[in-house]
Symmetry: C2
Subunit: 222 residues, 2 copies
Amino acid sequence: MEIDIQKKVLEANETQADKNRSFFKEQNVFVLNMMSSPGSGKTQLLCKSLNKLMPNVRVGVIVGDICTRNDADRLEITGAKAIQINTDQFGGDCHLSANLILASAKELGCFDLDLVIVENIGNLVCPAEFDIGEDVKAVVLSVTEGEDKPLKYPLMFRVADVAILNKIDLLPYLDFDAKLVVDNMQQVHPHLPVFELSAKTGEGLEPWLEWLKIKVFEKTGK
Amino acid sequence: MEIDIQKKVLEANETQADKNRSFFKEQNVFVLNMMSSPGSGKTQLLCKSLNKLMPNVRVGVIVGDICTRNDADRLEITGAKAIQINTDQFGGDCHLSANLILASAKELGCFDLDLVIVENIGNLVCPAEFDIGEDVKAVVLSVTEGEDKPLKYPLMFRVADVAILNKIDLLPYLDFDAKLVVDNMQQVHPHLPVFELSAKTGEGLEPWLEWLKIKVFEKTGK
């Protein structure tokens, strides 16, 4: 029974995601969906990325959490407009769904933007199942989480278009094999591009941002 | 619609959880449900705990993952019997439900045990909603995950009977305020017991194990 219900919920979401995709195309805006476990450093990565991308790239952010608007407050310090979605009013949902994204994108005013970044709820499982009409899905994994996560949570790495291995500044203090985690990611998703970086120190940030800017240009011409 | 469906699924789970609780009482076995984000160090904590608890406390483990039996293999090195549940055959479920636990507990043979530890799927959201008939829920948070997680994922900390702050060996290399995270946990759940430890170095392990042994004794007299 539970699986049938899930299927219906996912189908309804897919229909809305297709509508979102048409809307984003009309607005000529690129949408990046950033997903990860709680505490992998998504918000810090976004803050550092926004500081480097703006004002040349006009970016707005939609950020999902069950509770608090901590992340929107942190992101707005960069000067970007940020819309906080709290899912506690929708039963404490563990993912962002396509209908929530469309309403927030309209509130964000995406006709003035080149890039909308969605920071999804910290969860390595459920957000992978919910298409939001994005152009690119990124998964962030931190080096503190262990090398086996791509094998244990394969759907997330299979649907991702790009992976970011964050917190490489901590490598000297961990028993963590960065080559092994990249091999595991690419075992699940052959040729997945992986950027190794530290949002904290800024090391490795540029190649990731170059990759992203090329993707935005390819879609929007901007 | 989605919220109504969730409610029905949760009600069915609650009924099964009550049956599990009766079963565990008949068997005179204590059940601990251990939950956290992916990569917080649950498996390492369990391996170290099992090494110290056994053979005086007879422990069996049920471990949930979407894919792989990596964790069961790691846990069995301690000599404990470990049953691996993979939810990819149930639609890639993001939590362990009560019906899966009963079947696994029977397979584990819990009449011979004092303590069954369930290592839940790495997810700070959904497992908090699914009672499995356990005696105690523990949440593990690692110091790399940020101080705000109890405020952003309040249900998990509200339902937990005990919290473990893991990876304190990394504190010198992080901007992390351990006092603030404990305050945040206890803001969500007043008087929540919190054990600060490093499963890797063993620091702080004893007070946590003493607490657990007392709980097991209180229920089972063993």
